[in-house]
């Protein structure tokens, strides 16, 4: 039997040195013993003389083992040193052991490390400072009983959080003191060394009681996260029995209470504040502003439901050229303006190349709401159906009637459908002006987002040149 004496319950360095020597000397887990304190006070390694020393070679262990061991040693279980030594021993033949988290010993160590980490987290949560005055002024003291020996590990958190406060945390394992500059660890303390109350605790209890909803009692969920072992040092926990006891009565009283008397005057005031969201299907807008407001209330198809807003056309009231796209995209839907996203940038560049000032063009879409499908944190574009395009022609027609453009350039098949009322064959019909019933001429071209999707650079450049040529043709017809 080989025995090592450790300086304290959390003496990781002492354990490490001893364990290293044990393993080098070939001491099996069954033969190794670690004792805290004991006869050899202060001695880090107190192995009996007959333990053969320095027989093996120095060795390295995975970092994961050291990290886990540093946590596990803070666990209150008595056999934690033995578990760790068993792992260290087994690492000789299985260097990957720490990765095999399904192994019995590894799983056990990880579970204990998790308990320690949880105890540290609960300490961050459940320490309650009380104010004291001393010769140096205001200071803060807390009495706390951690589930595991996590004081030293957790104290720096409080130093970072309360850097400008002078505070002490007292526990049965030791104490931590912060003077605004340095953290100092001290001896174990007792409860009576901390103040018994604080004037803000009445406010805290008031808040705790008021934020509780008696209609949804779930004491199991509370106890799972705030175990009873912590209650005795939480000023608010004293209220729990009464809050629980009264919850049923309070809920019943809410339910049984008679309905409030209607207040006619108030109702009148409130109805004036109510917004009018009704949709008048027959309304014919006489300005672009009216049109915009009416589109926001539109219920001609269900696309409004998942869109942020209806996006109407933008541009001069009497533009000679109207450019029609398919529908607003993700960015347009948020911004409320057409062609501000990636396709808009393609369009802008092409317009410039074709010698057209975008400020003189009325840019709009065949469909005013963004049709899409949510996919995680993104929204994927979906092509609107013929029914949706037809429903939205009411608005496109209104824009055409109000703006009276001479030339309408429809980009893509959906835009063509919106302008012509039939689905055109864009590649066949492009380049040829199509007379419209209102006297304007329609031209067809591809949608700029199509250009974005062509993978081959040469093909993309060629298609883009055709797109610019279509824009130039539109300009020549003005």
């Amino acid at each position: 039997m080989a025995v090592a004496a450790l300086a304290g319950e959390t003496d990781f360095d002492g354990w490490r040195k001893a364990a290293r020597r044990f393993r080098e000397a070939g001491v099996t887990p069954a033969e190794a013993r670690f004792v805290v304190g004991g006869a050899g006070q202060g001695g880090l390694f107190d192995a009996p003389a007959e333990a053969p020393a320095g027989e093996g070679k120095p060795f390295a262990v995975p970092r994961a083992f050291v990290e886990t061991a540093q946590s596990v040693i803070l666990h209150r279980s008595d056999d934690r040193f033995d578990l760790l030594y068993r792992l260290l021993w087994r690492l000789r033949d299985a260097p990957d052991l720490m990765r095999v988290v399904s192994d019995r010993d590894v799983a056990d160590a990880l579970e204990r490390a998790k308990n320690v980490s949880r105890a540290s987290h609960k300490m961050k949560a459940f320490v309650r400072f009380r104010q004291v005055e001393d010769e140096r002024g205001e200071a803060w003291v807390a009495w706390f009983e951690p589930a595991h020996r996590v004081l030293e590990m957790t104290a720096p958190f409080f130093a970072r959080r309360f850097a400008t406060m002078r505070w002490s945390i007292l526990t049965p394992d030791g104490s931590a003191h912060w003077d605004g500059e340095a953290l100092e660890l001290g001896p174990p303390a007792t409860r009576d060394m901390a103040p018994a109350e604080d004037e803000m605790e009445e406010f805290w209890r008031t808040y705790y009681a008021s934020t509780f909803n008696p209609a949804r009692l779930k004491t199991g969920a509370m106890r799972a996260e705030m175990p009873k072992r912590y209650w005795k040092n939480l000023p608010e926990a004293a209220l729990i029995p009464e809050l629980v006891a009264q919850s049923a009565v309070r809920t019943e009283a809410m339910v049984a209470a008679p309905a409030p008397e209607p207040n006619r005057r108030l109702e009148k005031t409130l109805s004036r504040l109510a917004r009018d969201a009704s949709f008048d299907e027959g309304f014919v807008p006489s300005t672009l502003e009216e049109l915009d407001a009416a589109v926001q209330a539109c219920r001609r198809c269900p696309l409004w439901r998942d869109a942020t807003q209806g996006v109407c056309g933008a541009g001069p009231k009497k533009a000679r050229l109207m450019i029609v796209g398919e529908q607003p995209g993700d960015q347009e839907d948020l911004a409320g303006r057409p062609f501000v996203g990636p396709a808009g940038r393609v369009l802008d560049a092409a317009l410039e190349e074709a010698g057209i000032d975008r400020d003189e063009v009325f840019v709009t879409n065949a469909v005013k709401h963004f049709k899409h499908e949510p996919r995680g944190k993104r929204r994927l574009h979906r092509t609107p159906t013929t029914g949706e395009v037809s429903a939205c022609r009411w608005w496109l027609d209104a824009e055409r009637r109000l703006v009276k453009p001479k030339v309408i350039l429809a980009m893509g098949a959906t835009a063509g459908l919106g302008v012509l009322g039939r689905k055109p064959a864009v590649t066949k019909e492009r380049g040829r002006p199509i007379p419209l019933s209102d006297g304007a001429a329609a031209l067809l071209t591809v949608h700029p987002s199509y250009l974005l999707r062509i993978p081959d650079p040469a093909a993309r450049a060629a298609e883009r040149a055709r797109f610019v040529a279509d824009l130039e043709q539109a300009r020549s017809l003005l």
Binding site: V100, V101, A125, A142, M222, Q309
Partner: protein, 413 residues
């Protein structure tokens, strides 16, 4: 006397704020009070400083600046026509309570909302003033969550984002038609537009391009919203579809679901019954499936009956029972995406399985050590020494896996 008044106000304005389920204090930028004039830190993980007997955590001082309100939303305790006690904090009172609570380690920070008084702009301006005072006058570095008043000027929203970690505007009712009926002064379009603006600003503040000057800070913990469950008749599938649409559209960190609960002096327009807590729980589970397990809202809806999720079993199990042809799955070979679909295997367990199987071929007892309860997993997997045989397709599998007493949504009163 003044003290008593403040306590009374605290009682009224905490009571008025508690129906907002949001409590998160996580996911913001890392910072602490070292070298500063004040106190406060945020280190990634949120901290719940207490739990009330309703099982909800107390992380932030969640209060209203005032519960006076010119709106009359039927589901809300603070609606204009309610006879509840009214109160209003001054800016300094909120600042003082926040700091006094924080110093004693009661809270992670402040979650401040308000009834609408005078106008959206005025109300938002008041909220921003509290946050600005905490940050600038007191160098407070804890967490701040501000409620967004959707009608407020975009400039105020920008300022709010400068001081707050998180912003939120609540949609409240999954059905737009119901909002018109039950909250006639609210406009869902205005709320969505405000959320859209927040998304654009959060994206603009993300320091992606190295060569550019650091953009001004804007709500590093993003935005969230809340949907009330059980007030407007919307079934679960519709609620989940709504959530999917909100997550996709506005980059929300969270959608909170709040079971509609009886309130003091409640409106006759709404049913008074026990809050559907189990339904709320199932919706949270389904929400998790959408965010971390690769499920889409329609997929989760496949196993629903009349649009409602099964209350007796969790939504992943319900889905798997409905799609047994995809099981059993070999834990030693299946891709991660498929392991995530196995009932009883969480994200952490799946990651551990994927990592361990590079070194060892897993037996059932290994899987048992990696997950919470192997009984639930067993029918859906194969391992080195395990195959479920006929168990996967057993007719009574659902009955075997469902808890003995199916939790029913009892109407107690």
């Amino acid at each position: 006397m003044a003290q008593l008044d403040l306590r009374r106000k605290l009682s009224v304005l905490a009571d008025a704020a508690k129906y907002d389920a949001s409590c998160a204090s996580s996911g913001t930028s890392k910072r602490d009070s070292s070298g500063g004039r004040g106190i406060g830190s945020t280190e990634g993980m949120g901290i719940c400083h207490a739990y009330t007997p309703d099982g909800r955590c107390v992380s932030l001082l969640k209060i209203l600046l005032t519960n006076f309100c010119i709106y009359d939303c039927a589901y809300c305790i603070n609606r204009a026509s309610s006879n509840v006690a009214r109160a209003r904090f001054s800016v300094d009172e909120v600042v003082r309570l926040t700091l006094e609570f924080y110093r004693r380690n009661y809270i992670e920070g402040l979650f401040l909302s308000s009834g609408i008084i005078r106008s959206g702009d005025y109300t938002m301006e008041q909220l921003v003033r509290v946050a600005r005072t905490l940050r600038e006058a007191h160098d407070f570095r804890g967490y701040i969550h501000l409620k967004l008043i959707p009608e407020a000027d975009p400039k105020l929203v920008e300022e709010a984002g400068l001081y707050a970690d998180r912003l939120s505007a609540n949609i409240e009712l999954p059905r737009d038609e119901a909002l018109q009926r039950l909250a006639p002064q609210k406009d869902v379009g205005v709320i969505k537009k405000a959320m859209g603006q927040v998304r654009l600003k959060v994206e603009a503040a993300r320091p992606e391009k190295r060569d550019r000057a650091k953009p001004p800070r804007f709500a590093p913990a993003g935005q969230s919203t809340q949907l009330i469950v059980g007030a407007d008749g919307a079934p679960d599938t519709e609620i989940l579809q709504r959530s999917a649409s909100l997550y996709g559209g506005y980059g929300l960190r969270r959608v909170y679901y709040s079971a509609f609960s009886p309130i003091p002096d409640s409106s006759t327009a709404l049913p008074l019954s026990k809050p559907p807590l189990m339904r709320e729980h199932r919706l949270y589970q389904a929400d998790w499936l959408m965010r971390f397990y690769g499920f889409s809202a329609p997929e989760i809806g496949e196993a629903a009956t009349d649009g409602m999720l099964d209350l007796a079993v969790d939504p992943k199990l319900a889905w798997a029972l409905n799609r047994r042809e995809l099981f059993p799955v070999d834990v030693n070979a299946a891709p991660r995406e498929m392991l995530l679909r196995v009932p009883g295997l969480g994200v952490k367990t799946v990651d551990r399985i994927v990592s361990v199987r590079r070194y060892r071929t897993l037996r059932l007892e290994d899987v048992a050590r990696l997950c919470r309860s192997v009984d639930k997993v067993r029918p859906f997997i194969t391992a080195l020494d395990w195959t479920p045989g006929g168990l996967t397709d057993a007719v009574d599998l659902r009955a075997r896996l469902a808890p003995e007493r199916a939790p029913k949504q009892l109407s107690l009163f």
